[in-house]
């Protein structure tokens, strides 16, 4: 019998116990996978964004619009290559009152500053030329079933048209994709023409919520953001400029400290699990004390007896971890699909990596004490049942 076979055979001597223990480990790792992925969205949700862009908003709050007269001034800041701007439209899909993230933008500036949004050139041209034009992200368009050429009715919960109606209609002239998988997931926005919006709405004129600054190669982002904020200090439109990544992280943080809640749950789950598996291991070693003594009598070293017990614990955790994480991956994909990509839980490689660390830590935590006990057994005492 090989050593591995020996370990497996020992695990299966009490089938019910092993099965039940593995099942609780699986439950714990399923939760681990899903919650860590959820946490990941909030923790590192902006990792894929390079530091190539700065976002400028009003210092008080981004709900306070800034004047468009800032465009040439911002373009004049050394190191700033291009400037785009985005005005929040407050879009609402009338049928179910769900929010649509719509921004009024300058089409060609958007094209220039965001190379991550990929769309055929003729659609960009159409967007620039059609006053009532609108483009939508692929994920959103797929979810809503929108096709290029359709007229899309969209309400705004902020801006009425000049005639007082809050119902707008736009022509869908393009659907954009993301340049990478991460960006593709972000294609959930709608862009409309700022020029048209500015003229047609009742009270916002010549203003925008955000500026996106594309920097020249090798420009110092920190220095530029300081320079921009300095420029508007003590003006009625004081600004706050930060990297796009910080901007997104700050935005998510507003929702609350999801990380803290997730950590508490995981702590509770693993503490419980530790006890379950730890108890099983201790029990199985206790029952086998005479056998382990026989092994030692036969010439197995203390170290290899320690190894046997640790390997059993490891096998339990590893198998449970693999199946649990597998289940989490499947559930995550199901949730993403079920919500039409609106809520993506992606059990990614880093999460699997964390799970691997958890498996090792758990193995040591539950296996080490029983294993040491097995290692230190005195043959005479053990065989005598003392």
């Amino acid at each position: 019998m090989t050593k591995a076979g020996f370990v497996v055979a020992n695990l299966f001597r009490k089938k019910t116990r092993t099965t039940l223990t593995v099942l609780s480990v699986i439950a714990a790792f399923t939760l681990f996978g899903l919650l860590q992925s959820l946490n990941h969205i909030f923790d590192a949700g902006a990792d894929f964004i390079g530091a190539t862009r700065l976002m400028t908003q009003a210092r008080v709050s981004f709900t306070q619009p800034l004047p468009l007269s800032m465009v040439p001034q911002l373009e004049g800041v050394p190191g700033v290559a291009h400037v785009a701007y985005m005005q929040w439209f407050g879009g609402v899909w009338k049928k179910d009152n769900s929010p649509i993230f719509a921004f009024a933008v300058d089409p060609m500036r958007q094209h220039q500053v965001y190379p991550e949004w990929v769309m055929p050139e003729d659609q960009w041209q159409a967007f620039a030329k059609t006053r009532t034009g609108m483009i939508a992200g692929r994920v959103l368009a797929d979810r809503m079933g929108w096709k290029v050429g359709q007229k899309i009715p969209l309400s705004s919960n902020i801006f009425p048209q000049k005639n007082g109606s809050k119902d707008w209609t736009f022509d869908l002239v393009g659907i954009y994709d993301g340049s990478t998988e991460d960006w593709q997931k972000q294609t959930q926005n709608v862009f409309i023409q700022h020029e048209y919006f500015d003229e047609a709405n009742q009270f916002s004129s010549g203003r925008t919520n955000f500026y996106a600054l594309q920097l020249a190669d090798g420009a110092d982002a920190a220095a530029i953001s300081r320079a921009v904020d300095k420029m508007y200090e003590n003006s009625p439109d004081e600004t706050k400029t930060q990297t796009e990544k910080d901007f997104n992280v700050g935005f998510l943080k507003q929702i609350g400290d999801i990380g803290m809640i997730v950590r508490w749950i995981l702590f509770a789950v693993f503490f419980t699990l530790l006890l379950v598996v730890g108890n099983t291991m201790a029990q199985s070693v206790r029952e086998r004390v005479p056998e382990l003594a026989v092994l030692k009598t036969l010439g197995f070293s203390d170290a290899s007896v320690l190894g046997f017990v640790l390997a059993e614990a490891g096998a339990l955790c590893l198998f449970g971890g693999l199946v649990g994480m597998g289940l989490a991956t499947v559930f995550g994909a199901m949730i993403s699909k079920g919500t039409g990509g609106q809520f993506t839980i992606d059990v990614s490689l880093p999460v699997w990596g964390m799970a691997a660390v958890a498996v090792v830590a758990m193995t040591l935590a539950v296996g080490l004490l029983p294993a040491l006990r097995a290692q230190r057994l005195k043959i005479v005492d053990a065989l005598a049942g003392r």
Binding site: T16, R17, L20, T21, L23, S24, I26, A27, A28, T30, L31, L34, L35, A58, R59, V60, S61, T63, Q64, G90, S155, N157, I158, G164, K166, F203, N234, S235, P236, D237, E238, K240, Q242, D246, V249, G250, K253, Q254, I255, G256, D257, I261, W264, I265, A268, V269, F271, T272, L273, L275, V276, N279, T280, A282, Q283
Partner: protein
């Protein structure tokens, strides 16, 4: 029969201390499940109770039609004046309609313990009547702001969660300086706001209109009257809601999300706990196989054995559940957090571990204990006496 059951059960329960390590697994497992369950739902209960406390049924809030939240709303001066003259609005001490036209703007404050990420905070400009319409609001430190001055009073929730709005501090917003002169408590969503004089706010922030008008009603039923009058007026496009529904509508999405998360997490954890309980009870039964067989040889019935194992498992589950609920209560009750509310600004609220939640948590624990005890009990009762007696 009854005496048999109580005899075996008593025997079982008394022997728990001798095998406490394995019994501990059930207790800790269920403590974990119940604690997580209670803590998650305490969050949604706390959020809901904060917002519900904010709303009175004898106040009505007037917003621009279709705007849904004060942030998106805007009313010009004429609409504001028309709204306060609506029939059904009660009169104040001065004989004029009891109403407060308010304007909200958003400021950013930095969270306690954070370095640079700002969070949105509501700054509300109010009329003197605002305090009459919200009698729950009390100034606990400093004094009220003086009309005409750039002075602010700050909610207790804001000072708890964010920096830079302490008494005496000067806040800079859009090139203007505001002094914090007082701190107020109200136990509801308004505690997450900064308040100042509406006219000063309008001139400072260059707002000609108002965000909302809060009306005092003659009776809760008068909301219909106000609504009919204002919505049939061709000069106005407004929504009229009683203040309580306005706030409770805002909690729906949050409660749904948290409810889903809590349900999902609890379900998976409960599964894990059931397996753990089964494991423990099987071990408990196996360890006492001889004992049980002896009892049955003496004439104790199978039913008595089944029930005794079940009772043991239920008692352990209940203890675990109680510990879990207590933990959730000690760690999280009144634990203060904040999240984004309807106005895209922070609402500070505290977790509330309610008796209802605790009871539900204990029921979950008992169900798990029952399932975890049933199969092992069954096995214990069915094991042939002779085999069991010969074992080990």
């Amino acid at each position: 029969m009854l005496s048999q059951i109580s005899a075996i059960t008593g025997l079982n329960l008394r022997s728990i201390p001798d095998r406490w390590t394995s019994s501990l697994v059930i207790v800790v497992g269920l403590a974990g499940v119940v604690a997580v369950f209670c803590a998650l739902l305490a969050m949604s209960a706390g959020f809901a109770s904060t917002l519900q406390a904010s709303g009175r049924t004898d106040n009505a809030i007037v917003l621009r039609g279709g705007s849904g939240a004060e942030l998106n709303s805007g009313l010009d001066r004429d609409s504001m004046l028309l709204a306060r003259e609506a029939p059904g609005v009660r009169k104040g001490a001065d004989g004029k309609p009891l109403a407060s036209a308010e304007v909200i703007v958003i400021a950013e404050l930095v969270r306690q313990g954070d370095a640079n990420n700002g969070a949105n905070i509501t700054v509300r400009g109010v009329e003197p009547n605002a305090f009459v319409l919200r009698p729950q609001l009390k100034i606990v430190e400093g004094r009220a702001f003086k009309p005409g001055l750039r002075e602010l009073i700050v909610g207790r929730g804001v000072t708890r969660q964010f920096q830079g709005a302490e008494l005496g501090k000067v806040l800079r917003m859009r090139g203007s300086d505001w002094t914090v002169v007082g701190i107020f408590e109200s136990g509801d969503a308004y505690e997450s706001e900064l308040w100042g004089d509406v006219e000063v706010a309008q001139t400072t922030f260059n707002r000609r209109g108002y965000s909302s008008v809060l009306l005092g009603l003659e009776s809760p039923a008068a909301v219909r009257q106000v609504k009919d009058a204002l919505q049939s007026d061709p000069r106005l496009t407004v929504d009229v809601t009683d203040q309580q529904s306005y706030f409770s509508d805002q909690t729906k999405q949050f409660r749904l999300t948290i409810g889903f998360l809590a349900g999902f997490v609890t379900a998976i954890m409960a599964l894990g706990a059931i397996f753990a309980a089964l494991n423990t009870m099987y071990a408990a039964v196996a360890a006492r196989g001889k004992e049980i067989a002896t009892l049955r040889a003496l004439g104790f019935g199978g039913m008595a054995v089944v029930l005794s194992v079940l009772v043991e498992s239920l008692v352990l589950a209940l203890v675990g559940g109680l510990i879990g609920a207590l933990l959730a209560y000690l760690l999280f009750n009144n634990f203060s957090v904040s999240t984004l509310g309807q106005n895209f600004t922070q609402v500070v609220f505290a977790f509330k571990v309610t008796p209802q939640l605790v009871v539900t948590g204990l029921v979950i624990a008992l169900v798990i204990g029952f399932i975890g005890g049933l199969l092992p009990a069954w096995r214990a009762a069915r094991l042939p006496i002779t085999t069991a007696l010969r074992q080990g």
